[in-house]
Amino acid sequence: MPGEPPRTDAPAIEVHDLTVAYRTKPVLWDIDVALPEGRLIAIVGPNGAGKSTLLKAILGLVPAVTGWVKVFGEPYEKRRSWVGYVPQRESVDWDFPTTALDVVTMGLYGRLGWFRRPNATHRDLARAALDQVGVADLADRQISQLSGGQQQRVFLARALAQDARLYLMDEPFAGIDVTTERAVLGLLQGLRDRGRTVVAVHHDLQTVADYFDHVVLLNMHLVDSGPVETTFTKDNLTRTYGGRLTALSNAAEALLERRPSRPKG
């Protein structure tokens, strides 16, 4: 594995004037945002706000109508090996004939390139990644026999095996039990503490302030982006969620009161 990644002065992600449309229906409008390196970053917004689409646009999985994306100062194609993607758990068929270890080994396919097969060394790396997320004993399980939380851990292990510098995660906290949520959070904080950048689509407004350093508020257009302390405000949340839900503004108030208990390394 590479040691400490070389520093660049460029932000981890820079998005300029990005507009994305599915057919004729625009999903993201004129997004301008720069995300700093070495932080835990949440993308927050209502359903249909384009959160997953933003991740996919950064990865070049959906075409942009206008605008560009740079990852550590270069187009994504040049920085692929620096980036690990964790798709939504529901996006794949978990009855696919494969084991947990096989799925994690897929994290090394990018490094392997064409025509080379994973060997014992690669399987050891995959096993170590499974161990890091605490499910090494499930390596040989067929993936449909894993619980939702275990499946999420396997997906995370696949990204860890990539040993990336920037991780893009689509709802890593969705549909998992409390124990897994703690474990996943610990893992993400560990990555951040080693200088890695994690950008995660996040649904649970209650935990944003506790879990993340930086927040991107999105509702088809960019509402605001910045450190949680200054950006995750009631005012911004009302603008993001359209002010239609009083329950949400209450939640924001509750969060402001909880601010002092923010991340402990």
Partner: protein, 431 residues
């Protein structure tokens, strides 16, 4: 056209086996990528292509006819895409429309050709249900070339094909040319369908793709093994199908091959471990039996508890009254339990042995602990918990039971005030 058991026959067997092998392998990917219907649409759409190629070239030789099939098949699948893109019709609807339209046109052309002078000799009829007897050495060579191509592609690009099939977005994120690989897989699918038309026919070619793949999936949880098994099942069905068709003098080959693989599929669905119906059924039956046994033990125990006397035997009518069970069924369960030395017969009544009483206590303990857990921790009213506990008492593991016991602070009575039995020291040894 009957087949003689001679050198030609073995050529035909080789052809059908080859087709079965590559159909099985490519079928696995089609199945996992949910493209089963696409293969079927392609095949049906190929029929008018065959007919038009015959009219245009006037040739009976397979190469132009298969080229016609290829063109029509590809046109058909492009039309499906176009329908999905430009209208509100969904993919399955579009496939149904294109498949039936092309096939209808094909049948009209076929009938027209056959009614023309000499049309009967065209051999086009065989494209409907397949006629392996018409296979020549050169056809088999063509299949072998395609076979090598398919197997080589799957071996060389195994990890890429696996990844785009399992997780397309992730594959794209690490830089795999997903579109190109998908087009490659679909092209192989088209080629297998077209080459298989002569042998199996447009109506049934889908079975050579899907049936072996589904059967193989039953036996393994690894993609590599699924591919190997599908190849074996497909190839075997091809060989046996041709031989059976030859021996029967006149049954078309296609249906015979399909019936062979369907028989293997049936056996796989029934008998495969983990996914098989028989094992699931057997597991259910064992659980039901255990539940009946545990209920009888518990019933006998309940009389002993009420009378504060476990030595006094419980009579049949008393037990039959509890769950409205017949004397015969109850007797059979009692015999099972007696064989395991859990109950003993005393004249015409039943009594728990020491081991039987401990077994009953374990069930009662689970029942009452669960009731208490629901009332205390889940806030369910105490008059609502019995039915739930009736089910949980049979499935709760011993470890989970002890954890609940500890969580509740080792309680001594349930929400209804009845004592919760505690396993005594000799309990482990008795099991």
């Amino acid at each position: 056209m009957p087949i003689d058991f001679d050198a030609t026959l073995w050529i035909i067997v080789a052809g059908a086996t080859m087709l079965g092998v590559i159909g099985g392998v490519i079928g696995c990917f089609a199945l996992l990528r949910r493209q089963s219907l696409l293969g079927d649409s392609l095949a049906h759409a190929a029929l008018p292509g065959v007919c038009i190629a015959f009219v245009v070239t006037g040739s009976k030789s397979p190469v132009p006819l298969l080229a016609g099939a290829l063109v029509a098949g590809v046109l058909g699948s492009l039309l499906i895409l176009a329908v999905v893109r430009t209208t509100r019709v969904k993919e399955d609807g579009a496939m149904g429309i294109v498949l039936s339209t092309f096939f209808g046109v094909g049948i009209v052309l076929l009938t027209w050709i056959q009614n023309r002078p000499g049309g009967n000799q065209s051999g086009l009829r065989h494209f409907l249900f397949g006629q392996a007897a018409a296979l020549l050495a050169e056809d088999v060579v063509r299949m072998a070339i395609l076979g090598v191509l398919v197997l080589a592609a799957v071996v060389v690009f195994y990890k890429e094909f696996q990844l785009i099939t399992f997780d397309r977005d992730y594959a794209a994120s690490i830089g795999l040319p997903v579109r190109t690989l998908e087009i490659g897989l679909t092209t192989l699918l088209v080629l297998v369908v077209v080459v298989g038309l002569q042998t199996v026919g447009v109506v049934l070619i889908i079975a050579t793709l899907i049936t072996p793949a589904v059967a193989a999936r039953q036996w393994t949880n690894r993609l590599a093994w699924m591919l190997v098994l599908a190849a074996v099942i497909g190839g075997g069905s091809g060989a046996i199908g041709v031989l059976a068709s030859a021996a029967s003098q006149g049954i078309p080959t296609g249906p015979t091959i399909v019936l062979c693989s369907t028989a293997l599929l049936g056996a796989s669905l029934l008998f495969a471990p983990n996914r098989g119906i028989v094992q699931a059924w057997y597991g259910d039956r064992r659980l039901r039996r255990r539940i009946r046994h545990e209920n009888l033990l518990k019933d006998i125990y309940s009389f002993g508890e009420r009378r504060a006397d476990f030595a006094r035997p419980v009579s049949w009518p008393e037990l039959m009254g509890l769950r409205g069970q017949g004397r015969h069924a109850l007797g059979r369960r009692a015999r099972d339990l007696r064989r395991r030395a859990l109950v003993e017969l005393d004249g015409d009544a039943l009594r728990l042995t020491a081991a039987g009483r401990r077994a009953a206590e374990r069930v009662v303990r689970k029942h009452r602990l669960w009731e208490l857990y629901l009332t205390r921790r889940v806030d369910v009213a105490s008059d609502h918990v019995h039915r739930d506990a009736e089910a949980m008492e049979h499935v709760l593991s011993d470890e989970a039971t002890e954890r609940i016991d500890a969580l509740l602070g080792h309680p001594s009575t349930d929400p209804h005030g009845r004592p919760i039995p505690r396993p005594n020291a000799g309990d482990e040894a008795a099991r």
